[in-house]
């Protein structure tokens, strides 16, 4: 499988996973995302996993890691379009992914990530005063 494209939309990065990820592709995504964040200084990341039908603990953990990594680089991450079967699997694996924010679809994902960015900025200005 080819690599996951990471698109820049205004001040956001959008990664749309095209099909079920192999471990190596997932790892490549993590690295690519880190590099893209560094290069673009994006304020938010949206990861669309709506076509992913199968997950294992590795991918679950990786999603968590990517969100944590983005946070360290000053970006808010929203994972969108998790399928019901995937959600059930993740919960059964004990991976509740409390560190990541989620939305039903990419449209709501944009709304949520905007909201998170605004909150973060407000927190920043509050601290400065």
């Amino acid at each position: 499988m080819a690599r996951v494209p990471i698109l820049r939309v205004r001040d956001l990065l959008v990664a749309t996973v095209q099909e079920d990820l192999r471990d190596s592709d997932a790892q490549a995504l993590e690295v690519d995302l880190g590099l893209a964040l560094e290069r673009t200084e994006a304020a938010g990341v949206i990861i669309d996993v709506s076509v992913v039908e199968m997950v294992d603990s590795f991918l679950g953990r990786l999603l968590n890691d990517m969100a944590a990594q983005a946070k360290l680089l000053g970006a808010q991450t929203v994972v969108v379009g998790i399928q019901p079967a995937v959600a059930i699997t993740l919960v059964e694996l004990g991976l509740e992914l409390r560190g990541i924010r989620t939305a039903l679809d990419i449209d709501r994902g944009f709304t949520l990530v905007r909201q998170l960015i605004r909150q973060e900025r407000l927190r920043g200005t509050a601290r400065a005063q």
Binding site: P84, I88, V91
Partner: protein, 166 residues
């Protein structure tokens, strides 16, 4: 010879009974998990009776499918009709909350009685991160708030514009 026939009869009866039980189980499971859309964006799932693993799994699947199908952001999980909430039931409930959250929906648990609340506290169950309300009405109010909606009494129509001002 008779014994063999008897045994055949017995097996046939048994099969029939098993079939009947399976059918009844299907009927019950169809009845037991209605997911109701109470408002665009708000689903309600009233649970009546005890929750075992099989039922919880089925409930979970139905709910998650409906969340995706209707694009709902809030689910009101009503536990008024659940007689006892023990460790295993609450584990199932928490799984539902976690799975729905992964999809991007928030689950509010409503209809907790005082006794249930006390039991949960005494069992030392961790419900942090789960929003709960005592009644369905309170939950619905909160859900409206989350969606930026407000329920206000309709202003009475009046011919007198000054009275309308008041």
């Amino acid at each position: 010879m008779t014994e063999m026939r008897n045994r055949e009869q017995f097996t046939a009866d048994n099969d029939q009974r098993a079939e009947m039980i399976a059918q009844q189980r299907r009927t019950i499971s169809e009845m037991e998990t209605p997911v109701i859309q109470v408002w665009p964006g708000i689903l309600a799932l009233p649970i009546v009776g005890s929750v075992d693993t099989m039922r919880a799994q089925q409930m979970n699947e139905t709910l998650l499918d409906r969340i995706v199908a209707t694009g709902s952001e809030i689910v009101l999980l009503d536990v008024t009709g659940v007689p006892v909430i023990d460790t295993s039931v609450s584990k199932h409930l928490l799984e539902t909350v976690a799975a729905a959250r992964l999809l991007g929906a928030e689950v509010l648990i409503v209809g907790l009685s005082t006794r249930t609340a006390l039991t949960l506290v005494q069992l030392g169950l961790d419900l942090t991160g789960v929003t709960t309300r005592a009644t369905m009405a309170k939950g619905l109010e909160l859900a409206f708030g989350r969606l930026g909606l407000e329920v206000v009494p309709r202003r009475r129509l009046s011919v007198d514009p000054e009275a309308a001002e008041l």
